[in-house]
Symmetry: C2
Subunit: 546 residues, 2 copies
């Protein structure tokens, strides 16, 4: 029996040898060991007190037992109330490497920004009433001064469909039958987000949820791409990330539209001005942080040039050239290239292989580097086009893989990820419908990939030695702002994940970023200081629970 126990210990060690928390060379300080013990205790005790008790479930079916890996949108409130969540909200998160620009700011904040701009108007294709409010989608636009209107309302029977109404008027005069201004706010929120009954009920297939998901982007677009709002929006994006302990963000920005609407209401602001604007806000935020003595909390931001996978190989040429031009003008901002959109129904990478291979050649000639950061394998399919994207992403030399939900089915590709050090950007909370089954968001943000956390492939992929960067992806749509939810899910879903695992995930998020060596060194130094403060916080606040 003694022999058996020795063999057993060895087998477990061998099996876990590829895990990041085992390959890390770091010597764990005593204080962190103590803090880890405390976290472990809290995890066990909350598993009992919070998740085992049968509680009425508000949103869905009659009653249902809550568990930490259940559908994110349903469990959200309960998660936020736990000690573990409180602790992890204080943890320095490192970098956020996969997040879409258009879904990064809380909807109530976006509404506030919109209401602050008198140029912003709204229109709907039909008078808004109890009968139409569930289906009619609004359009927003910052209009030139000459086109501003004084129309009073979009809920009045006299409203002529598709005419512009100042958003302030539309809100103030929102009909009583639809609950007045508060009703407006609620409707605005509903058009921009996905709620549990939609995610798990009415839109509960991959295709349906994608439709709703796209509609949220379309509705937000007229606001986010109005220059005065855009500036504030980016500032909010940085502020909210910093608030959650994120010190670096790599944003996938859609350059599909060639122009943004300027403050004068004219749609003529080109990509280079977008980047100037981004750069300016970034520098302002950095200066602010410095002034506040919080330099450790923010190291910067980069942009991944992204376009929708719906264009032709001919059309992509313009964007690839544009991407190169932007990289040449803003070498410190443009750090990658990606194709985005629903992989199951849009065009596969192989369709663009020729121009993309030429793009790589062009970069060599010009002596610049814009690594691919492809979305790939965000699907439940086996051998479908979306699944096959993984082969092309890797052959084209992708530096990271967006989601890679189906990667677990590909032993050779996982081996290549290990050998070439390709990192997977994983959502593991967010929404089941898009979500994954590893952990709540490892799910692919826009598909009904996994119903709940413990089914997500994340633990399996991590155990096979593939490095992972946790991501919020499209937080505004699902309300999973920041990365605290993701780290929470990773930690509660496993008995073998420790504070050391979280540490490696945080450090990996800088390691696999587009920062250069020097910047990384500096970022690690800052992280180290903050990590020590975090460990101290756990000991000081929850020391009695160890």
């Amino acid at each position: 029996m003694d022999d058996y126990l020795i063999q057993r210990k060895q087998l477990i060690a061998d099996d876990r040898a590829l895990r990041i928390d085992h390959t890390a060379q770091r010597k764990i300080p005593d204080e962190e060991h103590q803090a880890d013990k405390i976290l472990g205790h809290i995890r066990s005790s909350e598993a009992e007190s919070v998740w085992s008790a049968t509680q009425p479930m508000k949103q869905l079916h009659g009653s249902q037992q809550l568990f930490p890996g259940m559908e994110f949108l349903t469990a959200r409130e309960t998660i936020v109330g736990t000690k573990l969540f409180d602790i992890l909200s204080k943890m320095p998160k490192g970098g956020l490497l996969h997040a879409h620009h258009a879904a990064m700011v809380r909807v109530d904040v976006l509404l506030r920004l919109a209401l602050s701009q008198p140029a912003v108007h709204i229109r709907v294709p039909a008078v808004l009433s109890l009968a139409t409010i569930g289906t009619v989608l609004p359009e927003f636009r910052g209009l030139p001064r000459a086109e501003w209107t004084t129309h009073p309302s979009i809920t009045d029977q006299r409203y002529a469909p598709d005419t512009w109404v100042p958003i302030q008027n539309a809100r103030s005069n929102f009909s009583h039958a639809l609950s007045g201004p508060e009703g407006f706010d609620r409707w605005f929120t509903n058009t921009m987000t996905i709620n549990p009954s939609e995610a798990y009920g009415t839109h509960n297939t991959t295709g349906e949820i994608w439709k709703k998901f796209q509609s949220t982007f379309i509705a937000a677009q007229g606001l986010i791409f109005f220059e005065p709002i855009s500036t504030e929006y980016i500032r909010e994006l940085f502020d909210a990330s910093i608030e959650d302990g994120i010190s670096y963000v790599e944003i996938r920005m859609a350059f599909h539209q060639k122009y943004m609407t300027g403050a004068d209401g004219e749609r003529n602001v080109p990509h280079r001005v977008w980047l100037q604007l981004y750069d300016r806000v970034l520098e302002e935020v950095k200066a602010d942080m410095k002034q506040q003595g919080r330099e450790d909390e923010f190291v910067g931001s980069r942009i991944i040039y992204s376009i929708l996978r719906i264009i032709t190989p001919e059309e992509i040429e313009w964007y690839l050239e544009d991407c190169i031009a932007m990289k040449q003008e803003f070498p410190h901002l443009i750090s990658g290239f990606d194709l985005v959109g629903h992989e199951d129904t849009l065009l596969p990478l192989i369709y663009y292989a020729e121009p993309l291979l030429r793009f790589v050649e062009r970069q060599k000639e010009l002596g610049i580097e814009i690594p691919f950061m492809f979305h790939a394998g965000e699907t439940l399919g086996d051998g479908t086009v979306a699944d096959m994207n993984l082969y092309d992403a890797i052959l084209l030399g992708t530096k990271r893989i967006g989601h890679g939900f189906s990667l677990i089915k590909h032993p050779k590709l996982m081996q290549i990820c290990r050998e070439k050090d390709i990192c997977v950007e994983e959502r593991n909370t967010g929404m089941a419908p898009f979500g994954s089954l590893y952990i709540m968001r490892v799910q692919s943000l826009a598909q009904r990939l996994t119903g709940s956390m413990p089914m997500h492939p994340l633990p399996a992929v991590m155990n096979q030695g593939v490095h992972v960067a946790l991501c919020s992806d499209d937080p505004a749509v699902f309300g999973n702002m920041g990365l605290t939810f993701d780290f929470y899910q990773v930690f509660v879903a496993s008995e073998v994940k420790s504070l050391a695992t979280l540490h490696e995930l945080v450090w990996d998020s800088i390691r696999y970023s587009a920062l250069d060596c020097e910047e990384k060194e500096s970022a690690f130094g800052k992280l180290e200081r903050r990590w020590n403060i975090f460990v101290r916080y756990i000991l000081d606040t929850y020391g009695a629970e160890g």
Copy 2:
């Protein structure tokens, strides 16, 4: 670009090199190639015509799009109506290597058997009424002649709780308010099975569904372990398997109870008589098949001696000795040993390691072989006791792994499975709540492991070169009789699975069985003949669709 396409082809081949349909040395005949094309066409066309159309969903939420990998219990009716299901129902399935004796016969058949025995009585702890019918569970027993009663009803207000009523009376006089005899049949069915609203609604956590699952076994026990019914039950088990194209069954029989109730109503029939009875029925069925000229359709059956993982290490000693005694008396029947029950809450393998190691030694001394066929890793947990069972199952030398749902998280263990040729018994249809996410039943029969098929780890495990035997597990409880549903799910869930994949799964089910070399050769010969007939059937019936 040409280079790229060559590299791509090679990469895909390398990635799939471990798959059973790639490692198989078999030369695929032209006819099978044609049949495979036909199946592929039908899969695509039914993906469109059956699964893409939005249809009202009868049992659950308002409306929901059907898809082949959705919750099994909901999609069942639609699956049965497809051409693909029709074809696969004709396919020779080889062996069924993981199925529990107590959940193998359709509930209506079990009811017919019970009604045919005048000794069978029923009792309930409270008068059955509209108020109690949803919660009260019946108990059944074959009584000694002297204890037979003439009580008329269990729904009459004068019924004294817990008194025995002949089952015939209970059914005939079932109250009109509860729909009379038909209502009795429905109630009987409900107590023995799990329906979609229970599986996905009210009992939708692992713990809850296990409770309901156990209650179905408790209710059935008094019937299945009454000798006159038991005999017919085993005959039905063989007949139904043969009907589905299964030619060999390895049954996990629970020997937890030391005695069965005999025809005389006395509970004194020991294990050796159970096996005599099993053997007799087996020989009768074989003789029947021979007489009908259908010898190719049935090669035999074996038993895996199973006990519940709730006893102490002291108590297990008696069973291990009993198992050895049974093996010595019935060497052609007893072919393995297993511990069964909900892994997440019952005792782990490590708890029994000492007596199990001695059991192995004892076998060596006696020159007999009773391989372990352990249930392990039937869990969503990561590092939980159920997940850790995988280490012990493998260290103890298990020949196969029951379910191994969490195996995908363990790279070293998958490597050992490849090297030591350990096969995984996978459920992939059945019920999501227990089910798996590989494919509908690969799920672990008694847990809410996976909501729908494409999330099951089966494709991932198979792609990593681990051999899999598809299993029905507890078909009576969920209505997934036979293996046709499982093969259906495997085939529709993937674009890269072909008739050759199914062929390898079928052949593996004999390869990894407890049959000896000679028996396997003979079984393969029979399978080969039937496979050719099956291929011919596809060409003849659906040739026009190729």
